[in-house]
C-alpha cells in the first residue's frame, strides 16, 4: 500500500515534470482495495487489474522500475510503451491489463473462471471495477453469466463515490451491492479503507469459489481522494467530505495497527522510499522504444502464450 502510494506520488511529480506523457491516474486513498484483495489470491489465480489498483501489480511481483518505465512510456515498461499509464498487466504474473472501456474486463474474468470450471481446476479469477462502470451493459452480462454458470469469479466493486465527476445518485437508484442477489450470488459491503477487512472478504469469497459455490460481489466503500486524473481539480467535491475521508486514510490506519504489533513503521517507510528512488533511477536510465518497432506484434506469430503464475506473498491456497 505504502509502495503504491509512494510510487503514485512520485509518478505524479514526474508527470508534472513532463516525464510522463499522456494523462495520469492514481488510486490515492483506495490503496487498501487492491492491496487487500490481491493479497488473498493464490499464484495460480488470475487477475484483471484496473486503473486504481497499482498495489495489485506490486503484490503480483511487478517491480517499481517497470512501473515507472510504464508511466514514462519506456521500452522497459510493462507494455514496452505500447500502452500507457495504468493500462497494463504482466501476463507472466497472471494479470491481464485493462482496456479503457469499462467494465469490459468483468467478462474476461468471467471467461477465465468459465475455463477453470470447464477444466475442473481449483482456481479463481478476480477483477476490480468502479461504481460508474456498473451502469454499463457488460457489467450485467458478466454478473448474469457468472451467476447462471456458478463460476469461480470474484467481482470487487471499488465504490469511490464518483465516476469522474458523476456522483452515485446520477449513476444508480440502489446500491449495486444489492444486485448480486438478483443474479443468484451474495454481495457483501466492506470498508474499503480497511485493508484487513478487504483481505478477509476476498479470502472468504475465494474459498466459496474454490468450493464450487460460485461468484461473490464485494463492494468496497472508499473515496477517490484525488481528481479523476492529473488534470482534474475536483472542484465538484466539497472539502469537508474529503477531510472526513482523509481521517480514514487506509495507510495511516494500517500503520497504527502495525505499530500496535510492534512493527517499525519508520523503517518500512525508509525501505519503501529507497526502493522507489532506486526504481525511478532505473526507469530513467531505460531507453524510449524504437519507432522502427511500432508496427510489430499486432498478431501473435508463434504458439499462443497463456497467463503465467503470479507471486502470492500470502499464498491463499486453502
Amino acid at each position: 500500500m505504502l509502495l503504491m502510494r509512494g510510487i503514485e506520488e512520485r509518478a505524479m511529480t514526474l508527470y508534472r515534470q513532463g516525464k510522463v506523457p499522456g494523462s495520469f491516474y492514481d488510486g490515492f486513498g483506495q490503496e487498501a482495495v487492491s492491496a487487500g484483495a490481491a493479497f488473498a489470491m493464490g499464484p495460480k489465480d488470475r487477475l484483471c487489474v484496473l486503473h486504481r489498483d497499482l498495489a495489485a501489480h506490486l503484490v503480483r511481483g511487478v517491480t517499481p522500475a517497470r512501473i515507472f518505465a510504464q508511466y514514462m512510456g519506456r521500452a522497459g515498461g510493462v507494455t514496452g510503451g505500447r500502452d500507457g499509464n495504468v493500462h497494463f498487466g504482466d501476463w507472466q504474473l497472471g494479470c491481464v491489463g485493462m482496456v479503457s472501456m469499462l467494465p469490459d474486463m468483468m467478462l474476461v474474468a468471467t471467461g477465465m473462471a468459465m475455463a477453470f470450471k470447464l477444466r475442473h481446476e481449483q482456481r479463481c479469477a478476480l477483477t476490480w471495477f468502479g461504481d460508474g462502470s456498473t451502469s454499463r451493459g457488460d457489467f450485467h452480462e458478466a454478473m448474469n453469466w457468472a451467476g447462471v454458470q456458478k463460476l469461480p469469479v470474484i467481482f470487487v466493486l471499488e465504490n469511490n463515490q464518483f465516476a469522474y465527476s458523476t456522483p452515485l445518485e446520477a449513476q444508480f437508484a440502489v446500491d449495486p451491492v444489492h444486485r448480486a442477489e438478483s443474479y443468484g450470488f451474495p454481495g457483501w459491503s466492506v470498508d474499503g479503507n480497511d485493508v484487513e477487512a478487504v483481505f478477509e472478504a476476498t479470502r472468504e469469497a475465494r474459498e466459496r469459489a474454490l468450493a464450487g459455490e460460485g461468484p461473490t460481489l464485494i463492494a468496497c466503500e472508499t473515496m477517490r481522494m484525488h481528481g479523476h486524473a492529473a488534470h482534474d481539480d475536483m472542484k465538484y467535491v466539497d472539502k469537508e467530505r474529503l477531510e472526513e475521508w482523509r481521517r480514514k486514510d487506509p495507510i495511516e490506519r494500517q500503520e497504527r495497527v502495525l505499530e500496535g504489533l510492534g512493527v517499525d513503521v519508520a523503517a518500512v517507510r525508509a525501505e519503501v522510499a529507497a526502493a522507489i528512488e532506486a526504481g525511478v533511477e532505473e526507469a530513467l536510465a531505460m531507453p524510449m522504444p524504437d519507432g522502427a518497432t511500432a508496427t510489430a506484434g499486432v498478431f501473435c506469430e508463434g504458439e499462443a502464450n497463456v497467463l503465467g503464475d503470479g507471486q502470492a506473498p500470502w499464498s491463499g491456497v486453502s
Binding site: 488470475r46 505500447r82 482496456v99 474474468a109 468471467t110 475455463a115 470447464l118 452480462e141 506469430e301
Partner: protein, 319 residues
C-alpha cells in the same frame, strides 16, 4: 473424397478440431440441444457433451468477452454468432479487448468467431449483412471467408489453430446450395487467395458467395479470371497484384455495402501499386449503401447480380 455441402464441411472441420484438440470447444446461442440455428453443430452435444458445446445466455458481448478470458488461460473457444449481424452487440469486446490484446501486452487471444453472413433469401436488414469490412478496419483481427466446401473446412481449421482472433465468415446462402469434394481428416487451408478460374483478359476479384455469382456471370465470356480472396486479413496483396499484372483489367465485387468495403481497399491497393499494369478503370460492383431490404424485388435490386457483374465485365473488356 466424399462430396459435402458447404454446411457439412464446416461441421466436419469443427468436429475434426474438437476431436484432435481437447482445448477446442464451441459456445453460442442454441448450439447445443438445438444444434444451432443453421444446424452446424447438430449432434455435437451427443459426442462432446454440454461443456464443449455450450448453450450460452443471449449475450454477444458475453460470448466474445468470456471467450477471450477462456483463451488467455489456454482454451480454444469457437464462438457462434447466430447471425453475423449480431456481432454488432459484441463489437466492443472484439475490437478493443480481443483485437488489441497482443499488440498492447503480448498476450495471444486464440479465439474463432463464426459469422453466418450474407443475404439473398429475404433475411431483411438484420439477417443479411456482411460485416467484415468493419473488422478489416480494426487492427489485430484476422478474417477469412470461404466460397467452397473444401475451403470452408480447411479455413475453419486454420482459424481454430491460429493464435489470434479470427472471424470466420460463412455465407448462409452457400450452406446448402454449394456442394463439393472434401478431403477426409483435418487439413489447414492457407489464408491466401486462390484462382477460381484462370484467364488473361480481365480479373474479377471477390470472395464468399460472390465468387459463384462471378463465375456464373463470366461463364460465357472469354479469358476472364476469377480471383477468390478467401482471406481478407491478411489480404493477399501479391495475388491481387499478380492478377492485375496478368489481366490489366479489374472488376471488384462486394456483396457488402459499397462504401469502405473490402473491395474499396482492394481497388485502392490496385490504384496505388498496380496502376502501371492497369488498362482501364478499376470497376466496382457492390451493394449500394442501403440496409438490405426484405422483399425479393427490393433485395434483388440491391445485391450484385449475375447480370450486373456480366455487364460490368463486358463493358470493361470493350474498353
Amino acid at each position: 473424397m466424399p462430396a459435402m455441402t458447404y454446411l457439412q464441411a464446416i461441421s466436419d472441420g469443427l468436429r475434426e478440431e474438437m476431436r484432435d484438440d481437447e482445448r477446442v470447444f464451441c459456445m453460442g446461442e442454441d448450439i447445443g440441444v438445438f444444434g444451432g440455428a443453421f444446424k452446424v453443430t447438430d449432434g455435437f452435444i451427443d459426442e462432446f457433451g454440454p461443456d464443449r458445446v455450450m448453450d450460452t445466455p443471449l449475450a454477444e458481448a458475453g460470448i466474445v468477452g468470456t471467450a477471450v478470458g477462456a483463451a488467455v488461460v489456454g482454451l480454444r473457444p469457437v464462438c457462434e454468432m447466430q447471425f453475423s449481424d449480431f456481432i454488432s452487440c459484441g463489437f466492443d469486446q472484439l475490437v478493443n479487448v480481443a483485437g488489441k490484446m497482443h499488440y498492447r501486452q503480448g498476450l495471444a487471444v486464440p479465439i474463432t468467431v463464426r459469422l453466418p453472413t450474407g443475404g439473398g433469401f429475404s433475411g431483411g436488414p438484420f439477417h443479411s449483412q456482411n460485416p467484415e469490412a468493419w473488422f478489416m478496419h480494426s487492427p489485430g483481427i484476422k478474417i477469412v471467408a470461404p466460397a467452397t466446401a473444401e475451403d470452408a473446412k480447411g479455413l475453419l481449421i486454420s482459424a481454430i489453430r491460429d493464435p489470434n482472433p479470427v472471424l470466420f465468415c460463412e455465407h448462409k446462402h452457400l450452406y446448402r446450395r454449394i456442394k463439393g469434394d472434401v478431403e477426409v481428416g483435418a487439413y489447414a487451408t492457407p489464408m491466401r487467395a486462390r484462382v477460381a478460374r484462370d484467364g488473361e483478359d480481365l480479373v474479377v476479384i471477390t470472395y464468399g458467395a460472390m465468387v459463384h455469382t462471378a463465375l456464373e456471370a463470366t461463364e460465357e465470356l472469354e479469358g476472364v479470371r476469377v480471383l477468390d480472396l478467401r482471406s481478407l486479413v491478411p489480404l493477399d496483396e501479391e495475388a491481387i497484384l499478380d492478377s492485375v499484372r496478368a489481366c490489366a483489367k479489374v472488376v471488384v465485387v462486394d456483396e457488402a455495402n459499397e462504401l469502405c468495403a473490402a473491395g474499396a481497399q482492394v481497388a485502392a491497393l490496385i490504384a496505388e501499386r498496380g496502376f502501371e499494369d492497369l488498362d482501364g478503370p478499376v470497376v466496382r460492383v457492390a451493394t449500394p449503401n442501403v440496409p438490405i431490404p426484405f422483399s425479393p424485388p427490393l433485395e434483388q435490386a440491391v445485391l450484385p447480380s449475375v447480370d450486373r457483374i456480366k455487364e460490368a465485365c463486358v463493358e470493361l473488356l470493350a474498353y
